[in-house]
């Protein structure tokens, strides 16, 4: 349990998450962005929000690399799984 690090401003992270959520909903329903661009923008926004939660709330920023790896290693596997299923459609 390492507590020596500088504590992040949790309320500020909450503010970021809230603003990003509002932007997401607004982009999805109020904007006239073409559909494929909209999907890319929304996915990027969701990944940014997920990273904010993982890095600051789950304290990955302050953990050792060997612990971070436990969380990072499944991500390429997850990407392979999704991409492999997407290629089903292409071929």
């Amino acid at each position: 349990m390492t507590t020596e690090h500088v504590r992040p401003n949790y309320i500020l992270i909450w503010g970021y998450l809230f603003v990003l959520t509002v932007i997401e909903v607004a982009a999805a329903f109020l904007s006239h962005i073409p559909k494929h661009w909209l999907i890319i923008i929304l996915v990027i926004l969701a990944v940014v929000k997920a990273l904010l939660v993982a890095i600051y709330f789950m304290h990955l920023k302050f953990e050792r690399w060997r612990l971070r790896l436990i969380f990072i290693i499944p991500l390429p596997l997850a990407a392979i799984l999704v991409l492999a299923t997407i290629t089903e459609k292409i071929w």
Binding site: M1, Y10, W14, V25, V53, F57, F71, L77, A78, L81
Partner: protein, 240 residues
Amino acid sequence: MTHATATANMMHPPAPAEPGSGVYSNKLGMWIFLASDVMFFTALIGSYIILRFGMREPWAAPGAVLNVPLTGINTFLLICSSVSMVKAYAAIVDGKKYFLRPVPGKLLRDGGLKFWMLVTIICGAMFVGVQVVEYFKLVQHGLTPAGFREGSHFAEVALADPAKYGAATAGLFGSTFFTMTGFHGFHVTCGVVSMLYLYFTKVLPEKYSPQDYRGIETIGLYWHFVDLVWIILFTIVYLI
């Protein structure tokens, strides 16, 4: 370090770190579980993507069937509960076990572990409650895992505007929607039950201290992960 001192260290908080990983075993176990949960949700999301984008017929437009404002509020609730969870963690690291305490010269009282854990539990329970209401409304209007129920409201409007409501893909829409949000709701329910258990057995009896707060940190990791999954699900199920 002799064997005797090593044993003595094992007996006392802070929790001993596992050799190799450098963290205590509860936390390591939770991280490994979360890694497996990443794959679990990826399987659900991956099959959703192939089912949805492999279809020639249009999928229901965002907001046509699902109530996005209600779920937007729900997303906000879950984000709030994640923040209150991390505030609970910060409170016990600082040794604040109390509920609320007045701060001289400040209007707002200072929340301790008991306060922030209660806020987290209430927000989590409200999330599940809103999801149950959402399910009831959807089934009432005719969305079931098998598609639009015959003679229901959705079946009628889908007949009038098949493209907007995704009439041809309603069965896939219903089954993927209920599977993904249902499994996520199950995770939230498990989290709320676990937190309630901890609240009455450990938090209220003040068994956590700045020297040992393993339970709070471990359930916190789980809770933030559930929030993280919802952030992804909200985007791909409700907004896209």
